[in-house]
Every structure is written in C-alpha cells, then in structure tokens.
C-alpha cells in the first residue's frame, strides 16, 4: 500500500513524514523520526511510557494512528527542556531521585506536566490518580509523587 504523506508540528517544529496507514504515531516517532525518548512498554495504552501531548492533551502515542496527526501539534519528551534549561519537573526528578531505571521517566514527566498545566495545586491523591496510567516498576511511585508535589509548590511560589 502506498505511504501517506503527513504534515504536522512536533515540539514546535514543522515536520513531514511518510507512513503506512496502519502505523502508530509511536512507531513513526521512534523509527522514522528518531525521537526515541518515547518508549514502547506495551503498545496497548496500558503503561504510559509512550505518553505525548496531542494538541496539548495527554495521549498514549501507541494508540494514535500516525496519519491522524495531520495538521495537529505533538509534544514529546525531546521538547520538554528549553535548550539546556530543564523543565522544573525534570530538574526536580533529578534532585529527588524520582527515577531508577528511567524507562518510564519520559512518559511520567509528560503526564506530570500535563497535570500541572491543568491543576497547579494538586493533592497527593490527585497526583496519584493522574499518574495511574503511567506504570513504574522500580520506585514504588514514592519519590515520583513527592517530586511532582514539590515541583507544583515551587512553580506556584515562582508564579
């Protein structure tokens, strides 16, 4: 089957790619565009390791067909830091050791940023339920939840 031509925006940059109609956005990001920061943990939308934003909305990129992103805006982990300046969540994850193996970390960060954009003052319970779609097997979630709460507090006081 002929490939489809797709025009989209990824991390603010205009991007074009060719894909099979049945290809997932995650496969295009990783295999075609070399954006391997989004991870495939399951391919069925259960682990959140491939989390991206699609027009600002938190989405599993494994559940999006690549042709569907025509004309839409995608945000991936590669676009989270501004040059050498880490996003406050990235910095806090480092300072509070909110990662061990790190495979879930890109998805966790994208999901957490999405939470704080909507709710700058989440409770522990709200953090836990928002991140319930992002599996982590290493940390027991403890330091992740603490890092998100701490970042939220710092971002509020800086605002």
């Amino acid at each position: 089957m002929a490939k489809l031509h797709v025009t989209t925006t990824i991390n603010g940059e205009p991007t074009e790619f060719l894909c099979d109609p049945s290809e997932s956005l995650l496969d295009v990001l990783r295999d075609t565009l070399g954006l391997t920061g989004s991870k495939e943990g399951c391919g069925t939308g259960d682990c959140g390791a491939c989390s991206i934003t699609l027009d600002g909305r938190l989405t599993c990129s494994c559940l999006v067909l690549a042709p569907e992103v025509e004309g839409h805006e995608i945000g991936t982990i590669e676009g989270m830091a501004k040059g050498d300046e880490l996003h406050p969540l990235q910095q806090k994850f480092l300072e509070m050791a909110a990662l061990q193996c790190g495979i879930c970390t890109p998805g966790m960060l994208i999901a957490a940023r999405s939470l704080l954009e909507r709710n700058p003052d989440p409770s522990e319970t709200e953090v836990r339920f928002w991140l319930a779609g992002n599996l982590c097997r290493c940390t027991g979630y403890d330091k992740i939840v603490r890092a998100v709460l701490e970042t939220a507090a710092e971002m509020r006081s800086a605002a």
Binding site: A97, I103, L131
Partner: protein, 751 residues
C-alpha cells in the same frame, strides 16, 4: 564510617546518568539502530505441549523481503545427558528455552525466527512456516504435575526412580527436627499457595546485532550482565567470546529476569545468515507469555514452640513451579525461610516441578518471598495462640552471631534484631489503629520479617585521570537503579574532589574486565570495593608523582582533599600539588595516571528486613488497600541514600502487587489469558501510599565503606505482612495469594 567525616558518601547527589534520562536521550535496548538493519521476529508454539516432528521453512524463505530463517538446528545443541553450567544456568535448558528443540513446552515457546526487511514481512513469513506438531496432553498447576498419572514433560526426569515432573530435590537440615518437635508445647502447621508473578519491567527484551564479514559480532542490548550476554551467546552460537562485543544499553528494569537471554543468539544467527544487522524487539504479549515469571508455589510450614515462645523446631516443604524446563529458585525458600531465627532443629525441603508454562527467571530475592510468606504467617499465628506480641516473639528467637543456618553458613555479625527493634519503637507500630473507622470497612495491622543471602563475586573497575585532571571511572555492572550515583560519591570522597569532576561509565565486554551479573544485591557492594581499591592505587601513583617532583620519598607524601602534600614539616616545605597539576605533568613524570582492579569480592553478609503495614478491607467489595507501610532494613552504609530508599520502596510495592493483585491466569487450553498490563494487574500509582523506609546504617565490617546489599530483602516480608494485616482486620487467615477481591469476598462470605 562516621557520616560526619564524609563530604560525598551519604549525600543525595544528582546521578551521572540523570540528565540523559529526563530528556529522552538515554539509549535503551530498543533505541539502537544500524545502517542496513533488518527486523527479526519469532514464531511461537500455539500449543502448551507438543512434539515437533518437523519444520518446513521453504515458503517463508521464498517470501520477498525475507533474508534469513533460523530454527533449533542452527542453535548449538547441549545434549540432555550432560550438564553444562554457566553460573546457575544449565545450558541444556537455556538452549531449549531460546528455541524449542525436541518439544514445544509452553504456549509461546519459540520454534523458529525470521529476519526480513520490515517487521510486517517478518511476521507474514512466520505465518508461512509449517510446523508439524504432535500435540500432547499438558499440565499447568503444581498439584496436577505431581500426580502419578500426570503428563510427563521430560523422559529423562526421574524422581524416586520413576518418571516424574519433579526435576530436582533440595534438602537442608539442621539438628534433629523430630526430636525438636517432641519438645514443643505448641505446633502450628499450615499450607499455602502462591501464583507465578512476572518481574514486570517496563522495557521489553530487545537487541540490535551486527555480524560482520570477518566474523566479529557486536550486540547492543540491555541485560543485567553484558558478560552473561557474551557468554551465553557464545555458547549458543559457537562463536568465540573474543569475537563478541556485548555493549550494555541502558536497562529499563530487570529485577532478575534479565540475568538470562532470549533474543541475542537468535539475532546473531539471523545476522550471520543474512549478512545484515538485525534488530529484534519483543511485544509485551511475548514478554508475558515467554519470559520470566518467578515460580508459583505450594508450601507447608510447621513450627514448634515452647510456651515461653522459644522456637524448638521448624519444617518447610516447598514445591516450586519451574515452567517447561527445570530451574526453580529452590535455594530461596529452602535457605531463607527460617534464617532470621535461631532454631536448633530445621528440615527444609524444596522440589523443582516442571509444567507447561514459560521457564521461570530470577525475580528479586528469588524464591525467598514465597517461603517467608508461609513462615511469617505461621509465626503470626503462633504469636496469636501464645498471646505474645508478634515482635516480641521474633525478638525472643532472633538469629545470633555464631549461629548456624540451615543452608550451612555460620552467621557473623548480624543485625536482624535491630530491624525488629526499629519497627517496635516506630510511631507506626505504636500508633493506635481504629479498626472500624466506618461502615463497610475494617482495618488491621501486620508485621513480618525477611532474609536474603546477599552476594559478592567478580567485579572489575578502571579509574583513569584525564589529561585535564578529572576522572573517568568504569565498572562492568549494568546500573539498574542508581549504582553509578553511588560510585560517583565513593570516588569523589576518596580522591577528595568535587563530584561534578567524575564521570561514571558502564563498560562493554571489550573495554572492562569480567564483572558478574547485576543481581544478588551485589553491585554496590562489589563495585564500591573494586573502585575503592582502584582509587587507592591511583592515589598511590599521584603521591609517587608528587614525590618525584619534590624529590622526596613517596612515603613522605599524603593525599588530602584532592591534593598531594608533604606529610609533615620533616618531609620538606612544598606547596600542595592538585590533581589537575599532577595530571598536567603526567607524561613527563612517567606517563598516564590510572589503575584498575579485578577481584572476586567476598564479605557480603546477609540482609534482614522487618516491615509493618496497615490495611483497610472493604467488606462489600473485597478490596484491600494498603494505608501505611514502614520498612526497616540494615543497609550497612547508604552511599547514596535516595537510591537505597528507592530500592526499599520499589521492593515493597512489588511485594504489594504479589500479595494483592498479580497472578498468571491460564485457561483450559494451557494458554495465558492475561498477557497484558491491563489484565496482569501491577500496582499503579493510585494503589499505594508513600512507603516509609527506615535505613539502619550498621556498617558491614567486611566492606571499605560498610556497604551491605540492599535491593532484594525489601520484597521478602510484604506478602506475609499484608496477609497478617488482613487477618488482623477480618479475624480470618488467608492461605493463598493473591488476596484479590474475589478471594477476599469468598472468605468473608464463608462467614
């Protein structure tokens, strides 16, 4: 080591690999590609048990885009009559696990593999491979596999002289257990079952492999040991180790399961046949069906005590599921279950039972949690029957220095008692618990303890001073949870320089000396030891260089706070020489500065843990929620406290999953019914509370920094702690894991 003296050890520094991991730069197994790369896929058995009479690959090979096909005949055969061991792995089973040989032994067992220009073509080609199966009756559960008329998996397995599915028996004995029970005033004997649980790492197995025309092989894959990848690939392909370079990718979780391989030798053979680099990535479905899990179990534990609580005898019988090929972690339950306690008379027996499931792989303290589950539930019941506080009963019986264990070791300085005391005096244990907070829920509190052997073993390090006076440290152990951060702290401390001047790397098999697996809670213990010795050698060189420059005796030079100084006024008056200054003069003063150490490390004393948990049971829905969790452990010395806490917190939450929700569900056809993260229910963020770690830092006298292994002991107590807490809440004992809502409701409804 006194914490006050340390500038870097014990500090919560930012990990060397951190920035790469929060920005998506870190390269994991599936992130590598090569020019001209093609894709490999595995054809798997649709039957749980079948003789493979023949495989016809002609149609697959004829499909356009297919570059190579591999079957068991391409893999080196290890005949059944002769064991060839690599560490604890028997290559007879590994060669048959990587590719089914005489028989398919479980649903999902690899039978062939294809490399093609795309994943789609490779998958299509797999469907064209014709396998002639003679389907055999299958057996899944232990209780069925040990029945006299059970389908037998392997003709060569004999138990008590007869064909059997019991592949091996392990017996550990201490004293006279019958005489011990004869002294008992109270004996409690209970039987328990646990289900196989998967390690659940988020990164599926993957590799990219190059086989160049000169026969040199490069493997990019994540594992818990690049040297294991090299050795197993060599054994299974016949390619000498010197021709294989295994490069460790960042590892996205392993928990024991990545101490063996599945894809690498297959990919190497596909690459060799096709002349193209090959990439293989498992789907999550494949990970669940064909890798791991750890054994399910059937156990009976019998403990006898005097009225004053003294344990006089203990007996454990542990049947473990091996999967289709032998290899259950018998040593875990047999050796660990009773080892927290001083018991004169112990008989501990384990049976390795094969059945038509995927072959088990190591999982964090392999086998110990399921043994502790049985033992610690019986201890809890004994305390209840004696009317003793549960921790007091443990304190009365704690193992002691000089005490003999059932597995043969004699304890040195051990610190189990301290973990029990830590929980006993913690505000969690002493806080009142409202057992009936509102209608429809009841609450309970449970405690349990656990033991893990810990390990030392082979480790290598190389410490080089760069020309500009900074430091590169390389070790040979994949970093699963922050070991590089600990090594950076140790190096900064010893050399007396700023942490930011140190780069810590994991070497590949061609760039660093042999280093054993990341497993057994050994890496920080072993690598800190070889890095310390390397740093001491480098400091010796630096002192010699300074002595040469000053024209004094090297003995008259000290290394202090990143500088060489004369040892005292008698040595002479010279301004200090910094690391940077000495590095700048390196070549004129004798050449590059650096040293490596390769060692078989010893002195890894065992780890003990005691946990306390509060749970809430919804009596209408059967849902158990963990409300509060406190875990005490002797960690020796926390080189980087964040990552020590992280090991404890992560281990506990894996234990919570094992206790409450995780299990493999097989249907009548012998197929796994829940091979996805949706249906295999690991704890998610909203399932668990904060986990409070209590790190007891009682230095291990056999380690330069006092390190004790940490990673595995935390998963040992949670199963029993939670079962005991549910008993405290409901007044009912559970003898089967997971304590999932249907099971809890069944017990409540039974009244």
């Amino acid at each position: 080591m006194n914490a006050i003296d340390n500038k870097w050890i014990g500090k919560r520094t930012i990990r060397p690999d951190g920035a790469d991991k929060v920005t998506g730069r870190a390269g994991y197994s599936a992130d590598h590609t090569m020019p001209g790369m093609i894709w490999g896929k595995v054809l798997r058995s649709p039957h749980p048990h079948a003789v493979i009479r023949g495989i016809d690959t002609a149609k697959a090979e004829a499909l356009p885009g297919v570059k190579a096909v591999v079957t068991a005949k391409d893999i080196v055969d290890f005949p059944l009559d002769k064991s060839v061991m690599l560490g604890i792995q028997d290559m007879r089973w590994m060669c048959r696990n990587v590719m089914a040989r005489e028989k398919a032994l479980f649903h999902g067992h690899p039978v062939a593999a294809v490399a093609a220009i795309s994943e789609e073509v490779a998958e299509a080609a797999c469907k064209l491979i014709e396998v002639d199966y003679e389907v055999l009756p299958h057996v899944i559960e232990i209780e069925d596999a040990i029945k006299p008329d059970a389908p037998i998996l392997h003709d060569f397995v004999r138990h008590e002289g007869k064909p059997s599915n019991i592949a091996t028996t392990m017996v550990n004995k201490l004293g006279d257990v019958e005489a011990g029970f004869a002294q008992a005033d109270l004996i409690v004997e209970r039987s328990f079952t646990t289900r196989p649980v998967h390690q659940g790492y988020i990164e599926p197995h993957a590799c990219t492999v190059s086989h160049a025309p000169d026969g040199r092989v490069t493997i990019w894959s994540s594992s818990q040991g690049q040297f294991m990848v090299r050795a197993m690939t060599s054994l299974l392909t016949g390619i000498p180790q010197s021709n294989i370079r295994a490069i460790p990718a960042e590892i996205g979780g392993g928990f024991g399961a990545k101490t063996i391989i599945y894809l690498e030798p297959v990919a190497v053979l596909l690459a060799k046949k096709s002349g193209r680099p090959v990439k293989m990535v498992m789907s999550r479905d494949e990970v669940f069906r064909a890798t791991g899990p750890t054994s399910g179990s059937m156990s009976t534990v019998k403990i006898g005590v005097k009225n004053d609580g003294t344990i006089v005898a203990a007996q454990g019988t542990f049947y473990l599921q091996a999967g289709g090929l032998p290899g259950s972690p018998l040593r875990g339950p047999v050796g660990c279950s009773f080892s927290p306690y001083h018991i004169e008379n112990v008989l501990s027996v384990g049976y390795d039972v094969v059945s038509n499931r995927s072959k088990v792989a190591a999982y964090r303290a392999p086998g110990a949690p399921l043994g502790a589950y049985a033992t610690e539930c019986v201890i809890d019941e004994i305390a209840e029957k004696l009317g003793m506080d549960k921790l007091e009963l443990r304190l009365k019986n704690t193992a002691r220095p000089g005490g003999k264990t059932v597995y043969g070791a004699t304890f040195g300085a051990i610190t189990f008692r301290e973990t029990v005391e830590a929980i006993k005096h913690h505000p969690h244990y002493t806080a009142p618990l409202d057992k009936n907070p509102r209608k429809g829920v009841v609450r309970g509190r449970g405690v349990a303890s656990g033991f893990w052997f810990n390990a030392g073993g082979e480790s290598s390090a190389q410490l080089n001073i760069t020309e500009d006076g900074n430091v590169n440290v390389t070790t040979g152990h994949p970093d699963v949870g922050g070991s590089r951060a600990s090594i950076a702290n140790v190096t900064a401390e010893l050399l007396g320089i700023d942490h930011s001047r140190i780069s810590v790397l994991i070497g590949d098999t061609s760039s660093i000396g042999f280093s054993n697996l990341t497993g057994g809670s050994r890496v920080t213990f072993a690598s800190a030891m070889v890095v310390t010795q390397s740093a001491e050698k480098v400091i010796g060189q630096l002192k010699e260089r300074a002595a040469k420059i000053w024209k004094i005796d090297p003995e008259a030079v000290i290394w202090d706070n990143g500088e060489a100084r004369p040892a005292g006024p008698n040595a002479g008056q010279f301004p200090p020489l910094t690391l940077k200054e000495l590095a700048a003069k390196a070549n004129e003063m004798g050449g590059p500065i650096g040293a490596g150490v390769q060692l078989n490390t010893t002195g890894a004393d065992p780890g003990f843990a005691t946990h306390c948990v509060d749970v809430e049971v919804d009596v209408d829905l059967g849902i158990v929620r963990v409300l509060r969790y406190t875990a005490a452990q002797d960690v020796g010395r926390a080189l980087h406290p964040d990552y020590v806490e992280g090991q404890i917190q992560g281990g506990v939450v894996q234990g919570i999953g094992w206790a409450l929700s995780e299990e493999y569900l097989y249907n009548a056809k012998g197929q796994l019914d829940n091979a996805s993260f949706l249906d295999y229910r690991m704890p998610v963020c909203s399932d668990v509370p904060f986990i409070e770690p209590i790190m007891l830092e009682i230095p291990n006298p056999k380690h330069p920094q006092g390190v004790r292994g940490v990673g595995e002991a935390p998963i040992v107590p949670p199963l029993a702690a939670i079962a005991n807490a549910i008993h405290d809440a409901l007044g009912k004992r559970f003898f089967s894991l997971p304590m999932s809502p249907p099971k809890v409701l069944a017990v409540i409804d039974a009244g």
